[in-house]
Subunit: 312 residues, 2 copies
């Protein structure tokens, strides 16, 4: 049994296809066939059921694959330990970011980060919270940025910053004339929310829950982006909540519609997530420091006591 054989097995388990897995491993298909056969012979078990199309992992195979994942992860970590010791920050780093954080955070820290750590090859993907959790678990992401707490098994969270919510109140709304807004003013019935899967919505719902103690399942509308949300709001569909950083990009003429909350302001907790195995920890540390530094300048509310609307 070799680490290489285990990596081949993982690739096949993932692609359910020897040919495709071989490509991903940069070897030919016969190499995979023979190596997997050797592994199966040595353990005297069948890992893959080639009878089914697409190929299926056997019951026992699944356990072997799970353990193979552990072994390969632990093995990869050797490289990580060496890098950390040498102070080397580099290599490929796959980062997932949720849609409502992507457009505001990325432009702020990206330039700074790649300048500071030129040897890191960043691969950034916009993903929903659900996708992020799955891909960190299966090792396809090295880390991700999402609203927390999620408390998902095997995934660690480290808070990057707290981003206050700002209310966007359209011209015809009942709260139009208030200068500041209080959490108790909110009503789930006249609020627009982002579509399912966007954690921002979870944040808003939890926020309302906090004060209403229970919620109604029939929301009035769901939208896919902050821009759409504002437009729908202007069309008389209700008020909405925007994460603070988004409000900095708004056209000036919309500013009168923004109502800041009375302190303590509700906020969402934004964290960097990573697998409990702490692979590539030195890059995660670097990213954490980089983002925290940038955010300190952008969000001035940092010293204000903030309630987390996402707490369970």
């Amino acid at each position: 049994m070799t680490i290489t054989q285990l990596k081949y097995a993982l690739a096949i388990a993932e692609h359910k296809n020897f040919t495709k897995a071989a490509e991903k491993c940069f070897v030919t298909q016969p190499t995979l066939s023979t190596q997997i056969q050797k592994l199966e012979d040595e353990l005297d078990i069948i890992i893959f059921d080639r009878g089914k199309k697409p190929i299926e992992v056997t019951d026992l195979g699944r356990k072997i694959i799970f353990q193979a994942r552990n072994i390969v992860n632990e093995a990869d970590r050797i490289r990580d330990i060496v890098d950390q010791e040498k102070g080397f920050i580099g290599g490929e780093f796959r980062l997932g970011i949720i849609p409502t954080v992507m457009p505001t955070l990325l432009p702020m820290f990206l330039k700074n980060f790649i300048k500071k750590y030129p040897k890191v090859k960043l691969k950034i993907e916009e993903l929903t919270t659900e996708e992020i959790l799955a891909r960190i678990s299966d090792g396809h992401l090295d880390a991700a940025i999402a609203a927390t707490p999620l408390e998902s098994e095997n995934i660690k969270e480290r808070v990057l910053y707290y981003e206050p919510f700002v209310a966007y109140v359209p011209n015809n709304h009942r709260l139009k004339d208030k200068k500041t807004i209080d959490v108790s003013d909110l009503d789930i019935e006249d609020m627009l929310l982002l579509e399912d899967g966007h954690c921002f919505r979870d944040g808003v719902i939890n926020l309302c829950k906090t004060f209403k103690d229970q919620m109604d399942d029939s929301f009035q509308l769901e939208s896919g982006s902050i821009e759409t949300l504002i437009k729908l709001s202007n069309e008389g569909m209700g008020m909405t909540l925007l994460p603070y950083l988004h409000t900095l990009d708004l056209k000036e003429k919309l500013n009168p519609n923004l109502k800041h909350f009375t302190q303590p302001s509700p906020a969402r907790e934004v964290s960097i997530l990573y697998h409990k195995s702490e692979l590539k920890m030195q890059i995660i540390d670097a990213m954490h420091n980089s983002i925290s530094g940038i955010i300190r300048g952008a969000i001035k509310f940092q010293n204000v006591e903030i309630i987390s609307p996402l707490a369970k």
Copy 2:
């Protein structure tokens, strides 16, 4: 980097000597030299300082060796998973047992166990609790039987049985005429205890602590075995406590000196210990079942409420 290379590195780290490590690995010394060089070249680090005699592991090398231990453990577990699935109970199994459990427990379950699981090659060693903890941690023992709770990091405990203590009161002792004895009768000042490192002593001290709330450091005597303990006791050195199973072997004429405790009787907790990685779990399960079954017949006090003298 291969699993084989990591195993070689572990062997060298352990023996501090390429030649001896090579023997243990069943390869020649040049094989180890070249494989370790390849590993060091690939990681671009030095793991072993050959300048020192005996060889020393470098600071970074220590971290690599630690991680190598993880990887090799996880890799060994693949075999374990397959065995478990196939219901195969076999292979080498190294078991440590503390001195005060060894002579009573081993004759009871050994014959039964090797008959039931003929493919397990048991290697049993008498060791102190301290040695046991060290050797489970470094992977030299698969499991051990000792008095608990120990709550040592990385080591799991599973209770096998509770063994009541029986007081041995010599003829000239102040408690000689009592039919049964109560824990409150005990006095650390006139008690004989086993030498340091035998957990039984810890048990007795904790027992006295429980009722005296503090203890005196000047014990009157320390001895290495149950037999010596009884002889010393007869010589007027004080009373002593015997684990119940030991009293079954005593010569009949000594029976009048045994005083059972009033219920709830103090007892020691005897557990099977194993590494948290749960390697060879199916053998550990088999051994647990085997011992529990045997003990149910031997200790009739099982249904009696028992206080654990070892609780912290």
